[in-house]
Symmetry: D2
Subunit: 354 residues, 4 copies
Amino acid sequence: MAGNSFGNVFKLTTFGESHGEAIGGIIEGCPAGLEVDMHAILMEMQRRKPGQSAIVTQRKEEDEVQFLSGIFEGKTTGTPIGFVIQNTNQKSRDYSHIKDTYRPSHADFTYDKKYGIRDYRGGGRSSARETACRVVAGALAKQLLKQISITAYVSAVGELRLNKPYTDLDFSEIEKNPVRTADAEMAKEMEHYIRQIRKEGDTVGGMITCVIQNVPLGLGEPVFEKLHAQMGKAMLSINAVKGFEYGSGFAGTRLKGSLHNDIFNEDGTTQTNNSGGVQGGISNGADIYFNVAFKPVATIMQSQRTIDSEGNSVEMEGKGRHDPCVVPRAVPIVEAMAALVMADFWLLNRLSKI
Amino acid sequence: MAGNSFGNVFKLTTFGESHGEAIGGIIEGCPAGLEVDMHAILMEMQRRKPGQSAIVTQRKEEDEVQFLSGIFEGKTTGTPIGFVIQNTNQKSRDYSHIKDTYRPSHADFTYDKKYGIRDYRGGGRSSARETACRVVAGALAKQLLKQISITAYVSAVGELRLNKPYTDLDFSEIEKNPVRTADAEMAKEMEHYIRQIRKEGDTVGGMITCVIQNVPLGLGEPVFEKLHAQMGKAMLSINAVKGFEYGSGFAGTRLKGSLHNDIFNEDGTTQTNNSGGVQGGISNGADIYFNVAFKPVATIMQSQRTIDSEGNSVEMEGKGRHDPCVVPRAVPIVEAMAALVMADFWLLNRLSKI
Amino acid sequence: MAGNSFGNVFKLTTFGESHGEAIGGIIEGCPAGLEVDMHAILMEMQRRKPGQSAIVTQRKEEDEVQFLSGIFEGKTTGTPIGFVIQNTNQKSRDYSHIKDTYRPSHADFTYDKKYGIRDYRGGGRSSARETACRVVAGALAKQLLKQISITAYVSAVGELRLNKPYTDLDFSEIEKNPVRTADAEMAKEMEHYIRQIRKEGDTVGGMITCVIQNVPLGLGEPVFEKLHAQMGKAMLSINAVKGFEYGSGFAGTRLKGSLHNDIFNEDGTTQTNNSGGVQGGISNGADIYFNVAFKPVATIMQSQRTIDSEGNSVEMEGKGRHDPCVVPRAVPIVEAMAALVMADFWLLNRLSKI
Amino acid sequence: MAGNSFGNVFKLTTFGESHGEAIGGIIEGCPAGLEVDMHAILMEMQRRKPGQSAIVTQRKEEDEVQFLSGIFEGKTTGTPIGFVIQNTNQKSRDYSHIKDTYRPSHADFTYDKKYGIRDYRGGGRSSARETACRVVAGALAKQLLKQISITAYVSAVGELRLNKPYTDLDFSEIEKNPVRTADAEMAKEMEHYIRQIRKEGDTVGGMITCVIQNVPLGLGEPVFEKLHAQMGKAMLSINAVKGFEYGSGFAGTRLKGSLHNDIFNEDGTTQTNNSGGVQGGISNGADIYFNVAFKPVATIMQSQRTIDSEGNSVEMEGKGRHDPCVVPRAVPIVEAMAALVMADFWLLNRLSKI
């Protein structure tokens, strides 16, 4: 209700402000008996971590996850998994300049109006720091979904677009370049462009594509809990996301039905996959694929006019160490949220037949 | 959980198959004391109804709503509002040809795989007939949100695109043309095109834009229940929807932050509205606007190869009276879902401050 | 939230006022493929129905259930099961005398204060008529739980107490007498007493005991969703219920641990069953048994002083045809709610292990 | 779903095993702007803490709560309040003797059967240590409900019964004696009895009565979410609770309606309060009062026969430091759960009228 939870049965609830004591969460509904690969969780956290390459924020965040419950002798016990990530780098003083000032296109203004009070240290609750908790839970969800593979990559940075369908790409390229795109040539161009943007003190938007493979038939629930509807919500809940499309997406609006329909093969697979692996909200066994649109990060290293809480016009400039382009670090977050959605529907599907 | 409900506190739960006895639902959480305008509900139902113009399906569905509870002497009582819409036009025989055949790009196959059983009369539960219930609830939500205005219109049919921003359009045009677009000229073109598509026995996709005005500050909940995330889910749960974007959307991925940021005026409004009225998941008082992508209707009046439940290749042709383009009739559905989202967040916001 | 739903995954949501058009509900989460025995549902409805014997209310309610969805060719399809029970006997005029008067120990006053409006025809939403919907859903839940047997019986009417443990009773007696107690002798005494109470224009309280047998191990969820906690809520949500105890119950407060502990046999069963079949909120395979306390029906056929909505003191006398003792007709309601709880936990338990 | 949460809008979710790293939780839905009295929270924790007097367990648990989020400059911010209580006293070795043995009337056996795995250190998740988190959240809820007073006291220890109605008792006595009963004489008797029980290495059951005063009209939701139904669930979810009754309770089953009905005064109050402050599930402004039955603690310092996980008969004796009678320490837990229920309904009631 209050918006801190995601999932029906495999459920993550999070807490924490960017510059409070700690962030953390509770993972519920992970079945008992799962052997937990702590190293794999750590690896996912590394992928999201600031400071991992020259083109992302140079903030230092250790992001060390401490599990407090629900795992015993290396296995899940069926009880809730509590975890905490200390905020080791609480430099509240960095943010005193925004105490009474509303940063443009941030949530400072709306939080103040909604709650009448705001933790002004960094983005507080609205900071993307919160996504670290999603990566923890997503990493666990991935382990639950051993047979399903979830792969995201950067498909656009500003005007630079990776215009090939995912089937023509080599996913093994993704983690070889700091942009996390699936093409070595494009990776260089994008990296170069992001460096240039950073020099300008500016930021730029981008796009992430995600592909889910080896999906069992029958995942997703009819009507309001359609697989793609919940997936869309998952993605749109990530900071800076402005759009979501799956399968043929917005381009499909231009097509005729005779061309768009996916004709069945005799084994139940289809000749094309405009449906994006989902029919009527339920997985059909084909690859699920979708695009997620990210706006440019709002914090720029340039002077901007804005207002303070009294309504006075003031001049401000971003401080601190921010990402010039958020998509490289958002790749593991997209995957994590996708994993949460899939784990939830995978478990829910146990309830569909007698 | 099972996917039949939408909303946290203003909540709709629906039931019903396209060719069963009836469809219907329960609306919970509507506060007591609301004077219900039955005529306004009827008008919304008329907008969604088949057979309303030459360019939509000519099926006859009376869609008469019968309210069974929760309204007394013209006012809501705070108790659940049950309603039923009889399926007066149950021609089950029309559908016997699909009993054992999976229509391409429909949910026949996935329902069979998920449940091991399927109501093969029409789309069963996956039919868009279910959206009639959404319109009932949405019409009530609109009455609750008297000060908020919600307006949707068709912004694309196939390649025909209404390329003006909504601020340059005349919303009073929308209900004057059967396409429900906001431009008289474009309306004619689109209508002509849809008629042509229908003659071909084909269908075509399209896009709907929705604008929400006079929105109070502070609606939406942080992190996972962001206003735009829940709105995206609402839209993606509508049959045939493939994408959702709000504010600058996918186009915003191309921009730099220095250009994308919405600079504040001294009164707290902003000079631009790339944010689409939402910051950090919470309404900032500016117009909320978004686009919804619809794929072409899967039922076409042309012969297609497909398979039966045994995996044999068969030939099939759409029967019945289907929409050549779904967007004109989807306009009130988009508005209804938007109203459900807004009513829910409007009520939830009563809980935010002490 | 608004209180109209019960259950997590096997879920009933109801609507309806006692003298509105109809009451009804939606059953969600019943797995697909269950063959529905309509006759068995009808039989349960008959057990709850007014007018079934001389010692219950002589109101006429047909209570004919009409299923509108979710069942196809005799089987559940996994989609929501909508149902309606028409209120054929809407004699609103019978109730005009209470339009502005608050009946003692009814919910008239509290509904008015909470909502500022009240459907004054009969008890409106607070009427026990609503329990008919519970019996419908419970009857279905029983069919899902084929191996589990759920048996309730009247264990007290006023001072008349059936002081034997359930293991010493013959359950086959229960449906042979109109009181629904499990002892032929006691049945006569109780029936006689209820007839006398009715002659006095008075009412009397009573108690129902419920026994659940052949329970699988492992049902129930830890901490807040303990099997007995949810069972208690289920029972306490029934009109007129004032108390719930399971296993050793209130009597157990007098015992020492050395006497109260249930010592294990080598096969995992226990020598005693003070635990009432539940340890730590989870079923241990032994019989679950509990008592439910019902207050005397508040509507009496005697003159009482009360107040009207203006706060004036007025004289009133119950009209209509009410139960002198509610417990005989509440037996199937207790069983229905128990079945809902068990079905829910039975399904949830599919999620506990990997 | 998984049972770790309590409440609809004011919601507590907990995690943690008795001998894991830490226990803790997330409190959601506390409105922004509440000044938090940390000392008051500490005081409540002290009341629940082991070792506080000679008649409770002498275990050392520091129970220091660390708040990690959601409180800023002394006030709630509307964001989730995460908290952690370290398990400073993790003596896992104390419990190795129960690794493969099922303690009688504990949850060892049922957890093993449900999950196939169990954290055998102490009670793991089923330990009453978890209730510390309830006290934290309840203490906050009390602060939200400034005008409402919630008072619990011990009303029975074994056969020793405080047979006066609460209205004849002096609540200021409660915290003056280690038993937490509301009568100085009875306190001595009970204390003496508990000391004797402890010497025997045995335990004994008891009862707690709770009284809620100055309750606003209109709290509680109809049908399934009745105030007393949720209150009953709250109480029954506490470890060792076997029964719940409110108002006239089980004794009310013996009464006639003419005697049981609460006759209105002209100001809307009633001459008697058999209803226990609740009519139709909604508060009527009168005192809410109820009894909670606790069984004797299962861990006794005597030798008992039991079985190991292989089904072999073994002898075991309780080790560690356990409560001879749980009720003195359960008083603040009962109050905490009552506060959670009331806070939830108090907030929900903001949604009832337009």
